[in-house]
Structures are given as C-alpha cells and as structure tokens.
Amino acid sequence: MEVGTQKLNTSNLKINDFLKKYKMLLVFVGMIIISSIISDVFMTSRNISNIMRQVSVNGILACGMTFVMLTGGFDLSVGSLISVSAVVAIGMQDYFGVAGAIIIALVIGAIAGSLNGILLSKINANSGDAFMITLGSQLVFAGAALLYTNARVLPGSKSEFYNSLGQGTLFGFIPTPVFIFLIITIISHFILSYTSFGRKIHLLGGNYEAARLSGVRVYFYKAIVYSIVGFTAAIAGIILSSRTLGGSPLAGVGYELDAIAAVIVGGTSLAGGEGSVMRTLLGVFIIGVLSNILNLIGLSSFNQMIVKGIVIVLAVWLDVKKQ
C-alpha cells in the first residue's frame, strides 16, 4: 500500500525521504546518463526502440509476476508456460486458424496457471511450498511442450498478422510488442492500484490473517493471481514465437528468473504486500538497459553474465539499505 508523502518540518528530511523512496529511479537515471556518455549509439531512436522491443516479453511476464509476488507467492513454472504457449499458438494455426490458435494458447496459459493456483491455495502453501510446487509444474509444462513438438522447433507462422505481433510497428513508430506491453502495464497498474480486487491482493500479501478475518476470500485471490501470471506468460510466448519466427519448446527457458529478478529489483518485496506495477516497470527497464549497454560496448555474452549478476545484487543491496 502506498504511504502518502509525510509532511516533514525540514526540507533536509524531505530530500532524504525522496532519495529513499526513489532510489531505484535514481539508479535508473544514473545508468542512462552513464550509458549515453560511454556510447554514441545509446540515445538514438533506433536503439531506444530496440531496448523497448527487447524488454517487452520480460515486461509482460513481470507484470503478471507482480500479482503473484504481491500475495507473497512465487511462480517458477511460467518460463515453461511461455514455451507451451509458443508451440501451441504456432502448432494449432493449421487446425483452428490464427485467431483460434491464439485464443487456445491464452486459455491454456490461464488454465495451467490456475491449476498451480488452486493447488497452492488448497494446501494453503507458504512461499517454500510455492517454490517446490511451481518447480514441479515447471518440469511438467516443459515436458508437455517437448512432447507436443517431439522436441523439434516448429516452423514460423505463415500469417502476416501473427508475425506482426512480434515484429510489426503500429501507428508508424511504436513496435507492436511494445504497444501490447504498455497496454498490459496500464491494465495491471489500474487493477492493482484502483480496484478493490487490487487492494485485496495487497492486503492478502501484507497480512494474510487480517485479510482472512476481514472477509476476503483468500483462497480465490490466492488462486486467481497464478491464473493471471499464466495468462501473461501465454501472451509473452505468442510474442516470442512471432518475433523469432518459430515455435521452440525451449523458448521460455530461464524467463521466470528474469521476471522475478525484475520484480525484486523494482523493489517489490519477496514477502508480499508491498510493491507496484510501476516499480516492476522500473526493474524491467533497469535490467533491459543494462543488457543493452553491455551489448553496445561489445562485451561478450559470458562477461555480460558476470556484470548482470553483480549489478542485480548491488541494485537490491541499495534498496535494502533504505529500510
């Protein structure tokens, strides 16, 4: 829950307060300034559009993950769900048409996610249980995707509409996946910040007992957030398969950890209750800009991993210090 700006007597304290609250934003601004100094290409419109394209898949997934993590939950299975959605959305097009295949993929994502959710809420899982159970379903979904294509990569869609989802441009300047990412961010932000549904999710993560005693249907909310992240994973899978022109059963490997990292770097607590979509957005962009600038300065992918891991830990360290 957002704490309103407190009225403080001295301006000095106010600045301190501001610094504490927006530390990650400052980190982000700092990164942008440094990046534009060390690379001429960084601030070009072409590169910025590149960054946006690159972050959109992780960003969409991270929006869904924010819902789950706000309730104090955890979902390791969404990477595999991306793979399932990628192969289903491409594989089903021959039988049900593009629209049909997309709908099937989205429905499968939401249902598979809610299976996690129903089970986790039935056993009243703590975060350790959620870790293990979604690890189990990660294996199940990954196996299912591999079985569906018999471990082959399906050739890309013949539909121009489908391919434009990952590669096209809308209104002449905004890449389609970025547009979809923005829409999902806005919807998620609206739901979490301005609806009673969103307030209940915050309450559930912040104080489970209080939420239960005040009449929130905790089982329902615990289950529905996993359905939401499953749905966003399906969208991410569709975009990914459209962008890479193929349905790979390994498309989503590792995406779950990137999304979780983005949510945490943004400052949403692993314990639940505190956080927002806007913070997640910041986390997504911090990681995205970092990858981009490391690419621009020509660091090998191995060395990029070294820097990325260190920076993620440092970013969270900065955030921890405020408490």
Binding site: L119, K122, I123, N124, A125, N126, G128, D129, F131, M132, I133, L135, G136, S137, Q138, L139, V140, F141, A142, G143, A144, L146, L147, A151, L257, I260, A261, I264, L270, S300, F302, N303, Q304, M305, I306, V307, K308, G309, I310, I312, V313, V316, W317, V320
Partner: protein, 316 residues
C-alpha cells in the same frame, strides 16, 4: 513378534517416501534384469554420491532456513578450474584453487546475505549468473578435456569394488550427521532455521550461522565439481546447471522442510536415493526424457502437496 510387525507397518505407513522407494526398488528389479547388475549399481552409486554430496551442503542450508541457487554454477567453475589449471600449475595446486573457489563464492554469498541483509534468493540468483559467466569465460564456452592421468584414474577408482566417490559420500554423510545431531554447532543451525527471532534473543550469533550455511554449500559444490571432472575427464562450464534444483527437490522430498528448522541427513539420503532410483529406472525402461520430466514434476508436486496438506491439518 507381532508387535514388531505392527511397528514396522506403522513406520512404513508414516514414511511414505521410504515405502515407495522400497516398492520402486522391488518393481524395477523385476522389470529390468539389468538393474541388479554390478555395472548399473555402480552407476547408481556414483549418481547418488554426486547429488548426495551437494545435497548434504544443501541440507545444512535448508535446515538453516535458506537455499542456495548458485550451487550448480559453483560445481561448474570448480571443475573448470581444476581441469583448466592442472597443466599450468600442477594437479595439487589446481585442486586447491578449485576448492578455494567454492570457499570464496560461499563467503561472498554468506556475507551479502547475513551482513548486508540482502534476500538470499536474489544473492544466490545473482551469483548463479555471475559465477556461470566466470566459468564460461575461463573455459571459453567449451568443455575442457582433462590431461591429468591421476585425476582421471581417481574418477574410476574402486575400493573393494565400490566406487571411491560413493565412499567419500558415505564418510561425509556420517560426519555431517554427527555435526548436525551431536554438536552445539549443529543444534544452533536448527535453532536459526526454526525461529530466527528466538535464536537472536538467546544470544546466538545469527549472522555467523547464516554465513556458514552458504560457505558449506560452496565447499560441497566445489568438491562435487572436482569429483565430476575426475569421473567425466572433463571440466564443463555448464556441468552443474541442472543439478541445483534437482538437489533442492531431493532434499525436500526426503522430508526436510523448506521452511527450515527441521530435517536431517538421513532424509536427504532417502530423497536423493529415490530421485536417482527414478532416473535410473526410467532410463532402464527406455522412457522418453520428456515423459520423465513430466513424471518427475508430478512426483515433486504430489509429495510436497501431501506433506504440506498433512502438516496444516495436524496444526489445526
């Protein structure tokens, strides 16, 4: 006599994982004549040793209320260092450096978590990525073939027919069991994992114990990295990738709870045993790897779900 039977019956009913592993053992011995062959049993023993040693480190961590996602990367880098440095500085020093890598990364993880107070998921996730990047850089992205006769021979060494790696595991198992059960150090780890606030209030140096957990997983992982390199005659920068989560799953399936404060090494042995037995049986029966994935996933889900459901029912 009758009382004894009832006792055993009750035990088998209570310890479902144990009973199912016995059933599985009987079933696979009947289904595949190759299972009980010496070669296959040796193979199984080595698998159990590799996952079991990492599992021992992870048992400390999980009892202490934490887990370490970086274990796999630390296995990889230790193997790469041991094999890569051997031609340059000799086998002994190379092994020392490999073990030191586990100590150093374990210390860094431990300090960041206990002193800086950063969430352990993020720290070990970050070091998983960083250390893997380091291993890939050192190995230039490719597996390195071991040139040391001594190391390669050690990997295939047997004492009275038993792979030496398995013996190392058994020794470590006994030592860890002793430490956890009979020493103050061990009991304090249970205390830290069981209730952190109480442990703090009684004056335990909680930061020290939290840091130690990650140093132990680092050291055990580094050891496994060396053993794997010896066994496979290669140091691969992606060797450990799939090991971490399988090990965490094994420890939990054995019955050590992820919420901390409970569990023991015998349970870890049981968990590792059944997971490796499953893999081995699947391979012998020729089940497709993707179907293996699905079945393994379903097993993890059902064990954890039953366990958690029962716990909460008892609490109520």
């Amino acid at each position: 006599m009758n009382k004894q039977a009832v006792k055993i019956g009750n035990f088998l009913l209570k310890e479902k994982v144990f009973s199912s592993s016995v059933l599985l053992l009987i079933a696979i011995s009947i289904a595949s004549p190759y299972f009980l062959s010496v070669d296959n049993l040796r193979n199984l023993a080595v698998q159990i040793a590799v996952y079991g040693i990492v599992g021992l480190g992870m048992t400390f961590a999980i009892i202490g209320g934490e887990f370490d996602l970086a274990a796999g990367s630390m296995i990889s880098i230790s193997g790469v260092l041991a094999v890569g440095l051997e031609p340059k500085i000799g086998l002994g020093p190379a092994l020392v450096v490999a073990m030191l890598s586990g100590l150093v990364f374990g210390c860094i993880n431990g300090l960041l978590i206990s002193k800086a107070g950063i969430n352990s998921f993020i720290v070990t996730f970050g070091s998983m990525v960083t250390v893997k990047g380091l291993a890939l850089t050192i190995a230039n992205g490719r597996p390195i073939t071991s040139q040391s006769e001594a190391l390669n021979n050690f990997g295939d060494l047997r004492v009275i027919g038993i792979p030496v790696m398995f013996l190392i595991f058994v020794i470590l198992l006994v030592v860890c069991h002793y430490i956890l059960t009979y020493t103050r150090f061990g009991r304090n780890i249970y205390a830290v994992g069981g209730n952190l606030d109480v442990a703090k209030a009684t004056g335990l140096n909680v930061a020290f114990y939290k840091a130690i957990l990650f140093i132990l997983t680092g050291l055990f992982s580094a050891l496994v990295g060396i053993l794997l390199a010896a066994r496979l005659n290669t140091g691969s920068p992606i060797q450990g990738d799939d090991i971490t989560l399988t090990v965490i799953a094994s420890v939990v399936i054995g019955g050590t709870s992820l919420s901390g404060g409970k569990g023991n090494t015998a349970r870890t042995l049981l968990g590792v045993f059944i997971m490796m037995l499953l893999s081995n049986s699947f391979d012998l029966l020729g089940i497709q790897p993707y179907i293996q994935k699905v079945i393994k996933g379903l097993i993890i889900i059902s064990v954890v779900a039953f366990d958690s459901y029962n716990k909460k029912r008892i609490e109520r």
